[in-house]
Symmetry: D2
Subunit: 412 residues, 4 copies
């Protein structure tokens, strides 16, 4: 029904081989390096080695789209062509960093490519594209529901030649990572602006700036997601030069809108990868494990569960691909309905798919012996990341009602 | 992501106009003619008038595929190109007959096109293609689970120059319809054949043949589905000439396999049409109805329900289109996994979608004032028609397990 | 965990025997009398015969509670003690009328017992208690969402010695029933009253009063629920004497509140009966039907479905019994949370339970050969009757939030 | 509907006060002691202090039933009377140990009370009842599906005056706990016995015995459940005296049966406590958090979610209480159907309840700031502990089918 470009197909082949050669065989090593690390947020030697190999293999910065390809070593991939690549990476949750394709760095690089000036790009974008540093995006706050981005409370006040930041953020991925050097911070610079979409600005804050306080790491369902992690970060009279403003004062909301579309579907792509791998694991388990005198694979209910997983993965993938195509052709703004549909549907489906696959494994299915438990946490988290599903369903429902409510009687 | 042929697009336009001009405005008239009919299984004058108009509009026998197009007045439509047309027809459940595209006649015509000889085609196929007569497909039996087609028990015995049929069938759609003239009957002609897929034959039985007993109409969830209906039919020493055998003795299972793939996806296409229309109705209701001081459309839970309906319809449609494409390119046998996925997923999704849309309507949502209740029944019935979901999930699960169980360790 | 009174236990025994002796053996006869009736809303001879037998067996008006027992021939049964009796009756949906325990007559009798004056009781209550006439309760309107009872629009205007009614109602059960003689009609008598709960009145309207127009029967899914039925009823300048006011002007809302609690849980009791019988049927089917070489009962997924049905029926029954106990001890007002919990939970559970049981039966499961399809319709309808689930969940949610929101920190 | 004994009611009061005074205020301290522990499996000073207080308060060993009360300082509590106490403890997952009521120690103490001889009781039961040591129950194996207990593979071979154990176990809770001193090990002592329920024995193995190898801790989702933990344990030629056999050779299966009933319902009791607390937290959040200009509590979908949580908790609790009552009156063997119903229903309901409550909290809902994420993991784990739900549903389904399949036609 759909076909990927030759470029994408070749990259898929190459990526599959890379996964077979370097990623799957290193899963245990990765777990052990992390388990025995003195500092769980330090870079892992293994990752650094693999990053070099990925660069050499031309599997680097694949997330860059054609219109931004002057920043990359390749001609750019449409969302549609990138989707199967991100899905493959999603099969091992730590692998996207190996290809410099991990959140939130990809989204931050896009922000810098689209909205950064030459200075900002030279200082921060170049090392990010090289994979030399990591970055943070500071949006969510503990005290307000930031699913409504206009709720952001962190204060950005001008004082002479500097912006002064005060406020609290949390769920700041990468903040504890030792290589993380730069924070993009969303806050309110003009709280009294009558246009509530022009009250916000985004400012670049080097992590080492005095007043940036990493309060504590946060876990989700028991996972600290090291070495990236999610941190609570306080900004106590943090001062940066005026030149650290992105795009312009009062344009923070605009940047946020531009950033979030691709971010959401990248999560969905990777989730489909975890789901697909969980299904494959469940099939292998069903064949190799016997209860009550028969292999699991001969139990009718196991077959039904497998069948549902297959059908749901197919549907999730198709919805996502359609969303990608729509974004490629009409931009984020022209695909808001499908982005919302994917954002609210794919993580929920994937959570249930993995839940079933874990169950087929018995108690071992919940352990770190498989990718499933961590993938389950990822899916569960994506139902809240970038705003709870309910917020997106509200907007989507409103759009759909408006679309059909005025039809003439013939359709009724 | 996908695009229909120009032919399909033009037909979609024409069909939408036909629905607007002739079908929607006649929904009430159709209901009244049926309500006041002396015989609910007699042809409705309205349908006959509309059939003429549809023929004139070139909206006739659209289900015919390119490789069988010598039987039609058009060059044939792939499953993929036919899908949106069947979806549009599905918005009014009695409308497919207007376009000579209703089950089970389409499947029966396909059987005659593919497996009938010239005589059989002249006698039965031509009037069917003209819409002059209707037909039945006699597979399901009350006494055995015919989801396993080899279970069929009806006896087909040769006696001199005749086949003699004895046995009981039920859920024989169209049997009570006054214009229904011909039954395709599946039975066992060689019960001792060691190959259990060669024990069955299919025989053409004119409805008026002595011994064909229409025992009673059956209802599903209160619906008699008149004027087509579902009947219990007994065959008591029914005698037909040897020439009435289709394709050849012992080839009944083969015919059944060939027939069922398209039949299943045609149901799914129409179901998506009902679901889509239910969603549109729910949007209109949400906007026009107020409770507790606000229109329903402003209630968060209504918006969530609408959003889920939208996402699920998108996914169901995409899954179905991919299935069609696969069938077009690789035949039914090359698309068994996706056919099973569609067959088991689409009706279940649609049942839930309509359930929500009825709920948004309040008590009126369950009445015949809307298409929803009957569509709900249709979806529910499709979860059992051509075999319960569980049977197809069993086969699909088995296939998927086999596909992935042998992967090497790298993927695990 | 709980124990019924000896009286209830003895009545349960007697009722089970009555069902075995007279109800189950007459299910086919009932269906046939109805199928062949000239008028589907005429009393069935079978029902009349069985009513006599039930009276003789002392199985009559069992719904009457102790505080109203002076109206009955027995000392009254608490809701708790009545629950298992109503459950048994629920196994055959037409049977409650045999015991004069069917909706809406029971609720109407309660209204007359509690709020009627001596004249009103003599004229209408006595023949209702005798089972000589049937009655209607006219609340729901097609044009407004009457789940908010204050929305009622039907106009009750005083004109001299008469009340004049104008407006439209629908879903008026029993209205077409030939023996139905009296309508209790809720309307607005004082639309400008600042207290919106005192704007409504309830008035007794003999069905034969000029201006009472039975517009049409309504169906839910495909059921007309004959011989009771659900009607759309218009009131066109309907005039009744002032003495037909119930309780007093402006007290209509109060009556509605008093009536609805028991009505809702009676539905739930009967639904549990249908669900229980469906489960038993599914068990029998699972044992007697084979597919793919094994009885259904040996398929793991069938066993899982049966297990879930069992567990859910247990839970639904327990929730309902607790609700009954609470009502017995603290009245409807003291049990609003549990009534709402039962009202929104039991029908949904039962709908799903029956759905599974039908599926285990294959195509036959949807037909009138079993009680399941009609029970499914009953459960579906109860999710809208007396207000959609969502309305009750709104109220219940609000109550629960208020209950826990103020707890001190210790509990958090 | 049900009432607890005065003893239970008084204990509930006392326990609620203890939680308010000592447990809730120490939740943060507990988390910090664990986070900063050098060894996460060492006893926490806080727990030791609280244990002393609980003993003084008479809140100690409350799980002991009346027939075993000679082992306790109190007259014993029925399962029914204990249920609300365990529910209260369940609100803080680490609190049961404070009252010496935590799994698996309670189950192990029961085994020793019921099946241990005087020597075994003096050596191991007494310190366990005092809370001085901890214990393990070694049933589950990595290589076989031990949901079928006869599958156990660990070898118990007699060699002179000793039993020699060889094999692998996993999910051995408490194994890494520093105070854990004794393992009850299930294995096969007579693999060729024609009665497959007499092949197993259970043997007491001091943890310090040579050959007992603690291989690694296991996590579920992201939790290590320290300081109890779940371990993989290998037995390499582990030798214990003949006197360490429990009850007698070949009676291991019998012991396992006796142990598992109460264990399963204790988990359910505690899960209901977590669910109840999650609901309360969600109510508080709904009231204190605003999005889009209104508190969450005014969003219709939040109210619906809260309403469903309330109803489902009620039902889960009622099912469990009925199960307890049945066990109290008819023993584990007489309550197998209800135990299976609780075991398969309660964890699933609770998982979904907590999932909704976390969602209402936004991203913070997944963190360790609340009890919910850990409770979610507990519920998820209970769907596999003591055998996956599917195994219990298989048995329950079989029982129910047998119960109803033979009913006479009257009921059908």
């Amino acid at each position: 029904m759909y076909s990927f470009s030759d470029t994408s197909l070749q990259l898929q082949d190459r990526l599959v081989r890379f996964m077979d050669d370097y990623i799957y065989p290193n899963e245990r090593a990765h777990a052990e390096q992390l388990d025995h690390a003195d500092n769980r947020f330090a870079p892992l030697p293994l990752i650094d080695q693999l990053k070099d190999k990925a660069k050499q293999a031309g599997l680097w910065n694949l997330f860059v789209t054609p219109e931004l390809s002057h920043f990359a070593d390749h001609p750019g991939l449409s969302h549609f062509d990138y989707a199967p690549l991100a899905e493959i990476m999603g099969r091992v949750l730590w692998s996207p960093e190996v290809f410099n394709c991990n959140a939130p760095d990809t989204g931050n690089m896009e922000v810098l490519m689209k909205y950064g000036n030459a200075d900002q790009q030279a200082t921060w974008l170049t090392p990010l594209l090289n994979g030399d540093i990591r970055s943070c995006y500071c949006m969510t706050e503990p005290d307000t529901a930031c699913s409504d981005a206009t709720n952001v409370q962190l204060q950005i006040r001008r004082d002479g030649d500097e912006w002064v930041l005060n406020g609290r953020k949390w769920f700041i991925t990468n903040a504890f990572h030792e290589r993380s050097k730069i924070l993009i911070v969303m806050g309110k610079s003009d709280p009294d602006n009558p246009n509530r979409h022009q009250q916000q600005s985004q400012v670049l804050v080097p992590k080492e700036t005095p007043g940036v306080e990493l309060v504590r790491p946060l876990s989700t369902l028991g996972y600290d997601d090291a070495p990236l992690g999610h941190a609570e970060v306080h900004f106590n009279n943090v001062r940066v030069p005026l030149g650290n403003m992105l795009l312009g004062e009062g344009r923070g909301f605009e940047i946020a809108q531009g950033r979030l579309g691709p971010g959401r579907i990248h999560h969905c792509m990777r989730l489909i990868g975890v789901a697909q791998r969980s299904l494959e694991l469940a099939c292998q388990r069903a064949e190799s494990r016997a209860t009550f005198g028969r292999p699991l694979s001969q139990h009718q209910s196991v077959r039904e569960d497998i069948a549902r997983c297959f059908s749901e993965i197919e549907m999730a993938r198709l919805l996502l691909l359609k969303t990608c195509r729509q974004m490629d052709q009409h931009g984020t703004q022209g695909a808001l309905d499908l982005i919302a549909a994917s954002k609210t549907t794919v993580p929920r489906l994937v959570q249930n798919i993995i839940d079933r696959c874990m169950q087929i494994h018995g108690a071992g299915g919940l352990t770190a012996d498989y990718c499933m438990a961590e993938g389950f946490n990822y899916a569960r988290w994506c139902r809240l990341a970038d705003g709870p599903d309910q917020v997106h369903e509200m907007t989507l429902g409103k759009t759909i009602i408006r679309r059909y409510a005025d039809q003439n009687g013939a359709a009724s």
